[in-house]
């Protein structure tokens, strides 16, 4: 039998997304040795495919076909490449809202981890290192500009987004991978930095279990994968002298823990930010293909909703346009005349994540009636915004109402009682709380230090650890929490060294 690929270090980190890469950046800066294990490939910006299908195949988990197990499956967007989901998202940066921070601190025992002064310092450092800035006017693009027009017309609290892409030139290709390397996703920022500080990266290595020696985590085992077919080519064993850190996403972290025999409180409380989008057709050119992929937003925290401009690649925009044949083909001939806005809802629903029949996750999740009400109101607002921006036709993407709306009053049809959850095309890209921190050992997988309860040397540092969803884009919060936890871990194990 072929010998497994073996390596050892002080820390073994599974996953290279926002949490894993930040932990690697912090720990490697202390002089500790760090191994990063990533299931997906390592792709430099110039190596990323430009075609959508190839790009999605390389960097997105199963072409975004992982879904919930409900009767109306909800697609779950996840990255699978070095950089994780930060390599396919729009790099939107939001600090943890104070109300959420306070609730997590008081109700979930995170007061030390989220101590305000320390958090302020970490957010500030992250924003400096990742070149966070507001989207400038020159890359707002036609799509973002229209949302600004709509927001101003309706008196909504809109603003240009803050992103980790100061040098963005507006290629509208965040999903495929920024060809300029402007977005400071983890593959362009903290992973190269960690490598420079001595960390090692093993890509195309899928972790299958964490090995325990008694009650101590000592090793991560898994399979090496073929870069093209993703077939298993061998095995690996990564030995951790101090700790194993799992940061494989809020969907795959609980699977890894579950398969390692760690099931208490794991995968029980899945939460998300599902969203829906509305397309508008204009009588003059919009130019969706130019500008930042996401540039403008309208946060409505009192409603638990955030509205965003979002440009789609032409293949996905085409799918979103109604009909087939002649009417569809006429729309396809003028793809530069469309704009798209989306609504992301902080839903109150709780679900679960378990190992599925064929090795993937089985995710149970269904929006609550109140979630549906807020979703309907948000989509209706998006329709009104499209008309306020000057759209001549709006495609709400809701099955039981007209597929082409021509008057803003038609938005009211969406909030009608007969409109059901199955009438919407939802998608979720923010996932939370599947191995959450808490005070109650019976209902939380992690201690307030993000350590898996009952196992020494095993930590979770990704969105799984967050106790609830938060209503804004979570990347910045995940990074800050991982930074603080890694810093405390390093200080705890090497008191003489200050992290980072």
């Amino acid at each position: 039998m072929k010998r497994p690929l073996e390596d050892s270090a002080d820390y073994v980190i599974v996953g290279t997304g926002a949490g894993g890469a930040t932990a690697a950046r912090v720990l490697s800066a202390t002089g500790a040795s760090v191994i990063m294990v990533e299931e997906g490939p390592s792709l430099a910006p110039h190596e990323r495919s430009r075609g959508l299908l190839d790009a999605m195949g390389e960097s997105m988990r199963d072409l975004a076909t992982v879904t919930t197990s409900s009767p109306a499956p909800l697609p779950l967007l996840l990255g699978r490449c070095v950089g994780g989901s930060t390599a396919i998202n729009s790099g939107i940066i939001w600090r943890l809202p104070e109300a959420v921070r306070a609730a997590w601190a008081s109700m979930h025992g995170m007061h030390e981890l989220l101590e305000p002064a320390a958090l302020e310092r970490v957010f500030g450092t992250l924003e400096t290192e990742l070149e966070v800035s507001e989207v400038s006017d020159d890359v707002l693009g036609g799509n973002g500009l229209l949302m600004k027009v709509a927001s101003d017309a309706l008196g909504l609290p809109g603003r240009a987004m803050r992103r980790n892409a100061k040098r963005c030139v507006g290629n509208a290709r965040c999903l495929q991978g920024c060809p300029e390397g402007a977005r400071q996703s983890m593959d362009s920022s903290y992973i190269p930095r960690a490598l420079h500080q001595g960390a090692r990266l093993h890509a195309l290595c899928r972790a299958s279990r964490v090995v325990l020696d008694g009650t101590r985590a000592t090793c991560v085992q898994g399979e090496t994968l073929d870069p093209v077919t993703r077939a298993v080519t061998g095995r690996f064993e990564m030995h951790a002298r101090r700790a194993v850190i799992v940061a494989a996403s809020a969907i795959y972290t609980p699977l890894l823990l579950w398969r390692s025999g760690l099931r208490r409180g794991v995968g029980d409380d899945y939460q998300a930010h599902p969203g829906a989008a509305v397309v508008g057709r204009f009588d003059r050119q919009v130019g969706m293909g130019f500008g930042a992929t996401q540039a403008y937003e309208v946060p409505l925290p009192e409603r638990g909703v955030k509205l965003e401009s979002i440009a789609l690649p032409p293949e996905l925009l085409a799918t979103r346009l109604p009909g087939a044949g002649e009417e569809w083909q006429r729309d396809l001939r003028r793809l530069d005349y469309f704009a798209q806005f989306c609504a992301v809802v902080r839903m109150g629903a709780h679900g679960s994540v378990r190992p599925g029949l064929w090795g993937g996750p089985k995710v149970r999740y269904e929006p609550l009636p109140d979630d549906l009400r807020r979703l309907k109101e948000s989509v209706a607002l998006l329709v009104r915004m499209m008309f306020a921006a000057g759209a001549v036709e709006v495609y709400p993407g809701v099955a039981s109402v007209p597929e082409r709306m021509t008057h803003p009053e038609q938005a009211e049809l969406i909030v009608a009682d007969h409109v059901r959850r199955n009438d919407f095309h939802l998608m979720a890209s923010h996932h939370f709380a599947t191995a959450k921190v808490g005070l109650d050992p019976a209902h939380s997988a992690l201690s307030p230090e993000l350590q898996v309860r009952g196992v020494s040397g095993l930590y979770v540092m990704d969105a799984s650890a967050l106790p609830t969803n938060l209503g804004v884009n979570p990347q910045h919060t995940i990074m800050a929490v991982a930074w603080r936890a890694a810093e405390r871990l390093a200080n705890m194990q090497r008191p003489s060294l200050r992290a980072a």
Binding site: M56, D62, G291, L335
Partner: protein, 189 residues
């Protein structure tokens, strides 16, 4: 054999069956359906977008999408082909497949299925529309005709755009070769 190993082998077996198991008949049905989303039309400034002969490889896109998807989604694509192929039977009681319909009739059938009252029918129809869109707009020449990458000086000025950006259709995509490339396995300082 442990349960985990068995599950792994079953998963790979199911993947292989899904990837390679589509019959020629199913592919013929799929091609007829995919091409019917955007049938040949008179190209012109005010006309519809359609593919020229040989310009778009629908089946290659379908195979690739099935190979990259979860086993369940790959099965869903196959189910979509069957559902839509036999739609004349279960929708209208006509004992024939959609391949036997005139192109315009097949196109009308797709419109009805995309707006069907059943969520499952709508979603499976949309899944095939996604394949058709991926194939159609994935062809650089078709993409160029869609106008997606156009930006008029007026829009450029209004949105404050200061430089011309490279667009996909102008870039050489030859290096990609349509296949996933070899990538680094392990990286050390």
């Amino acid at each position: 054999m442990t349960g985990q190993k068995l599950r792994g082998q079953l998963w790979q077996l199911s993947v292989k069956q899904e990837v390679y198991g589509v019959t020629r008949l199913e592919e013929a049905w799929a091609l007829d359906l995919l091409a019917a989303f955007a049938p040949p039309a008179n190209e012109g400034p005010n006309a519809q977008l359609s593919a020229l002969p040989g310009e778009v490889d629908y089946l290659k896109t379908l195979r690739r999408m099935r190979a990259l998807s979860t086993p369940l989604a790959a099965f869903g694509l196959r189910a979509a082909v069957w559902l839509l192929a036999w739609a004349p039977l279960w929708l209208d009681g006509r004992w024939l497949t959609s391949s036997r319909l005139q192109l315009s009739e097949r196109c009308g059938l797709l419109r009805r299925l995309l707006a069907h009252k059943s969520f499952a029918v709508r979603e499976l129809s949309l899944l095939l529309k996604l394949v058709a869109s991926m194939a159609l707009l994935g062809a650089p020449t078709v993409r160029a005709r869609s106008g997606y990458d156009n930006v008029e000086p007026r829009v450029r000025a209004e949105s404050g755009m200061r430089r011309k950006l490279p667009v996909l259709t102008e870039e050489s995509n030859a290096a990609d070769g349509g296949e996933t490339r070899q990538t680094r396995h392990s990286v050390a300082p």
